[in-house]
């Protein structure tokens, strides 16, 4: 049996040693614990964003409703978008990447474990900072897109919270992106060539590059917004030579890659679940991978399709209409390959598979409505209407959230050593699918029928009351489905851990070669990889007639002979937590012109980073 060696250090820079217990979560650098914390906190923000959605749908359930006034509604729709994008889907993807990438590539941890902890804590504190605006004079109310100069002239602190909050969470995403990219490039197990990586890892790698290249753009834009609001600069002020459209270009130059940052993890999840439950390899693996990379590149060249009505002129509108149509091609390639994976399979329609199939089916609808946006003249009619709201919810809810639920059912036994109840999982899927379509399908009609986005009320004479009501009923149906999931999770987690079968889905990838949940060191022996779907090929071999037969346990594949040698693991550290506290201090300091707080925040960061640099590495 392998052992972990941790020798206590002496002195003020002593590293914390506890790897179990409540306080160990604050100092952990274990990618699995960090992944779980990412998952839990982003799920809580999902619930918060969902409650905001329910308020929106309650307000719009009848015409000329006065449940919310304009001010409240603007804050709520803004924070619904900001929360779902920046505080739920992005960190939830980070949760899965964090937990799974090292396990899938046969590594013991990520490349920079302490940076990983820093990512999480900065994200969490940035998210709390952003949401503290509710209690400090009002949340951001300029839309998640915060178009200038409305965003620079809007009174109150809301949009200053927006700029600062997203700058802070942006640090978390940038640090995380570099960390995970280096992990995938450098930490793969022997034999794990790039084209033996599971598609989820591939999509993860593409996403980290998208983050690393797109976040700097929004960072600059957010600083300009902050300076316009706080120190009266004129980046976006047309009366003093600024340019309002500059914000839109920079925002969407980030914002469109962001869409793929949100959806590519879902593509990776679909590409993992489908082969397992079809019991055959992913159809056209290389094409799925390359189409993901192509989407990453083309995703940087379509930003102005958010601006077709902004008056960029016919040349720009033509060019971006074409690029928008082009990006449909690699997306279509993925869908056809998933269908190819289904073909001839032995499809086990368990919960993860249902969510994957439902997610693909819903994403197709969003993809098709997306293609209609490339028909620029008709986009003059559709843009800024509910047609767009329908489109991107089919893409992001239909794609990303169905995938996230599917992934939760699929990897729950891996992470927690317990199965989520299969029967109730199916029930939850059908409720979600029905609620989802009730909510968002009518929005196509609302948009084409002339209802604009972001309006806190509409007159009965618009003639769209019925469809708004259907949509509101649908939203509460979705809420019921999510509630069912929460109940299931709580009941499951109250049961003792322990699986009859540590490979419950007959899976294909390396993370299932270790125990459930995995030991802190992941693998007793770093595995040697011989093929794509390594675990599958350890379990099955071809017989004389070319048919797959199960290899008797221990009969082939890797033979493990643990010799009890020590495993080098990074020690916990409290410095990431310390450093991360500096950022919201800077934020509040800038917000309230409290320069002592700015100085204190800077000091915390400097001291934290110094301690970080000087603390001893692991025990000798």
């Amino acid at each position: 049996m392998a052992t972990i060696t941790l020798t206590p250090q002496k002195g003020i820079l002593r590293r914390p040693m506890a790897t179990t217990g409540f306080w160990s979560w604050f100092t952990t650098v274990d990618h699995k614990k960090i992944g779980i914390m990412y998952g839990l906190s982003s799920f809580l923000f999902f619930v918060l964003g969902g409650c905001e959605a329910l308020l929106i749908r309650s307000q719009l359930a009848k015409p000329s409703n006065t449940l919310l006034n304009a001010d409240q509604y603007n804050q709520i729709f803004t924070m619904h978008g900001v929360t779902m994008i920046f505080l739920f889907v992005m960190p939830m993807s980070a949760a899965f990447f964090n937990y799974l990438i090292p396990l899938m590539i046969g590594a013991r941890d990520v490349a920079f474990p302490r940076l990983n902890a820093l990512s999480f804590w900065v994200f969490l504190l940035g998210a709390l900072f952003l949401n503290s605006s509710w209690f400090l004079g009002g949340a951001p109310d300029g839309g998640w897109f915060a178009y200038a100069p409305n965003s620079t002239t809007d009174p109150g602190n809301g949009l200053t919270f927006y700029a600062l909050g997203l700058l802070i969470t942006g640090i978390a995403s940038t640090v995380g992106a570099i960390n995970l990219a280096v992990t995938v490039i450098n930490m793969r197990a022997p034999g794990m060539s790039l084209f033996r990586m599971p598609p989820f890892v591939w999509m993860g790698l593409v996403v980290q590059f998208l983050l690393a290249f797109s976040l700097p753009i929004i960072t600059v834009a957010l600083f300009q917004l902050l300076f316009d609001r706080r120190w009266d600069t004129a980046f976006f002020d047309p009366t003093r030579g600024g340019e309002p459209l500059l914000w839109q270009h920079m925002f969407w130059l980030f914002g469109h890659p962001e869409v793929y940052i949100l959806i590519l993890p879902a593509f990776g999840i679909f590409s993992e679940i489908l082969p397992v439950f079809a019991r055959k390899p992913l159809f056209g693996y290389q094409f799925v991978v390359f189409s993901g990379i192509a989407i990453g590149f083309i995703g940087f060249g379509v930003w102005a399709h958010h601006m077709f009505a902004a008056g960029l002129g016919p040349v720009a509108n033509t060019a971006f209409g074409i690029s928008t149509a082009i990006i449909a091609v690699p997306t279509g390639v993925k869908i056809f390959n998933w269908m190819g994976t289904l073909y001839g399979g032995d499809l086990h329609l368990d919960s993860p598979m249902l969510f994957a199939l439902g997610g693909i089916a819903m994403f197709v609808i969003g993809g098709l409505s997306g293609v209609t946006h490339s028909i620029v003249p008709s986009d003059y009619q559709q843009t800024d209407t509910y047609y767009i709201v329908a489109h991107f919810h089919y893409v992001l809810f239909g794609g990303a959230i169905f995938a996230i639920f599917g992934a939760a059912y699929y990897w729950w036994p891996k992470v927690f050593g317990r199965m989520l109840p299969e029967k109730w999982g199916k029930v939850q899927f059908w409720i979600l699918l029905i609620g989802f379509n009730l909510t968002f399908a009518p929005m196509h009609i609302l948009g084409l029928g002339g209802m604009i986005r972001r309006e806190y009320t509409y007159p009965a004479a618009l003639g769209l009351t019925v469809w708004n009501q259907v949509s509101s009923v649908g939203a509460f149906t979705i809420a019921l489905s999510v509630l069912l999931f929460i109940i299931m999770v709580i009941r499951t987690q109250l049961k003792p851990a322990g699986l009859e079968n540590e490979d419950p889905w007959d899976a294909r990838t390396l993370e299932w070669t270790t125990s459930c949940p995995p030991p802190v060191y992941n693998f007793e022996e770093i595995p040697t990889v011989h093929s794509l779907d390594e675990f599958w090929h350890r379990k099955y071999a071809e017989d004389e007639s070319g048919r797959l037969v199960r290899v008797p346990a221990g009969g082939s594949g890797e033979d493990h002979h643990s010799d009890g040698h020590p495993i080098h693991l990074p020690s916990p550290s409290f410095w990431p937590l310390v450093v991360s506290f500096g950022f919201p201090m800077l934020g509040y300091g800038v917000l309230y012109y409290a320069w002592w707080l700015v100085a204190a925040g800077a000091l915390v960061i400097v001291v934290g980073l110094t301690g970080w640099a000087l603390e001893p590495s692991v025990a000798e």
Binding site: A70, F336, T372, L433, R454, Y458, G463
Partner: protein
């Protein structure tokens, strides 16, 4: 269970169909009332049909595969380990690309067609404020016959001749200093949209040259709805407008009337007392007259452009006010249009209670003053 999916899919298709039938919806993009909206709808039809075919093919394919190849209890079966097929891959890469190239051709040609500005079109400048629309008729033959002979100006309602091609210049206005909370009226981005007549174009402050343009016409006389489509702050939802298209006779009469100063109320009438409050003159005007700081009325000393022009407030061709937050005329018991005194009274009592963030302050007017002002405003024609 998958039959439920079929139902959902069927429901989506059915509902999409229903949109095409919703002819009476005032903002239905699928019920165009002019050539611009018509072309924007037509160019979508072929892509929608193709999308519908792909939709049925792919969704049906997923459903078919999921049912046909589903695992049956007790039947252990190891599927053949198919890794891919290069020919298929090339096929489903190239085919969609070709299809998209084909549907893009008419779309691109329409982009260029819509960008053309016919030289003989009637020129109207659209002004976006927080949160209402102003309209200036800048053609030489549309100047008023009084004062500085400036362009005919309206607010919330754009009156046009049916059948005539209009060329809109879109401008974002701001700088009005008058407000309840001290925040000025900012120049922000709006978007001008009347779904049955034309797709939207953004109103961008500081845009080079004359800003963005929309060229359109209405086939038939009628009242067409529109509203700001780009989020522009607190009362974005209440930044609506109407386009009233008139037949040639009505149009000529309207232009003639607009070129004249607004009507003056009869001496001794309630309306005259209201006028005194409005201008701060005479007996009723003691300590009043704040209205003219922001509003203008044709042919009078009220010339400020910070707030909507009230010249034809009492004219039924001007059906709404305050970003079309309320209708100025509503059908009475006999079906005839009559002034909407209730809405105007609520507005004058406290504009912010009607429209949060409205720049007009609450002047603590007495009920008597409100009655006089309403009589004056509805006398303006």
């Amino acid at each position: 269970m998958p039959s439920k999916l079929l139902w959902v899919v069927g429901a989506i298709l059915l509902t999409l169909l229903l949109v095409g039938c919703g002819k009476d919806l005032p903002q239905n993009t699928f019920n165009p009332a002019g050539p611009t909206a018509q072309s924007e709808k037509d160019v979508l039809i072929v892509p929608l049909i193709i999308a519908g075919i792909v939709f049925v093919g792919v969704e049906g394919g997923i459903l078919f595969l999921a049912l046909k190849f589903r695992h049956r209890k007790g039947k252990e079966r190891m599927p053949s380990q198919l890794h891919g097929n290069t020919r298929l891959e090339l096929g489903w890469t190239v085919a969609p690309a070709v299809l998209l190239a084909v549907v893009m051709v008419p779309a691109i040609s329409l982009i260029w067609k819509l960008a053309q500005r016919p030289p003989d079109a009637m020129q109207v400048t659209v002004q976006g404020y927080q949160w209402w629309w102003g309209f200036q008729y800048t053609d030489a033959d549309m100047a008023v016959d009084y004062g500085d002979h400036g362009p005919i100006t309206t607010a919330d309602v754009m009156v046009i001749p049916a059948g005539r091609t209009i060329d809109l210049s879109l401008r974002s206005e701001g700088g009005g200093a008058h407000s309840t909370d001290g925040t000025p009226d900012h120049q922000v981005i709006h978007s001008f949209w009347a779904p049955r007549l034309f797709g939207k174009q953004d109103v961008v402050p500081g845009a080079a040259g004359e800003g963005n343009h929309i060229v359109f016409s209405a086939w038939e006389p009628g009242i067409y709805w529109g509203q700001c489509a780009e989020f522009c702050g607190l009362e974005h939802a209440m930044m609506k407008f109407r386009i009233v298209a008139l037949n040639p006779t009505d149009w000529a009469n309207w232009v003639q009337a607009r070129k004249q100063p607004s009507s003056t109320p009869a001496p001794g009438s309630d309306a005259e007392k209201g006028m005194q409050i409005f201008f701060g003159t005479g007996q009723e005007g003691q300590g009043m007259g704040q209205c003219i700081a922001c509003h203008s009325i044709g042919g009078t000393s009220a010339v400020s452009t910070a707030a909507p022009n009230l010249s034809d407030f009492g004219n039924p061709s001007h059906p709404c006010f305050a970003g079309c937050d309320f209708d100025t005329f509503v059908p009475g018991p006999d079906g005839q249009l009559q002034p909407n005194y209730a809405a105007l009274q609520a507005w004058l009592e406290d504009p912010n209670a009607v429209k949060l963030g409205a720049k007009m302050p609450d002047y603590n007017l007495s009920q008597q003053q409100i009655q006089y002002l309403m009589a004056y405003l509805y006398s303006l024609s």
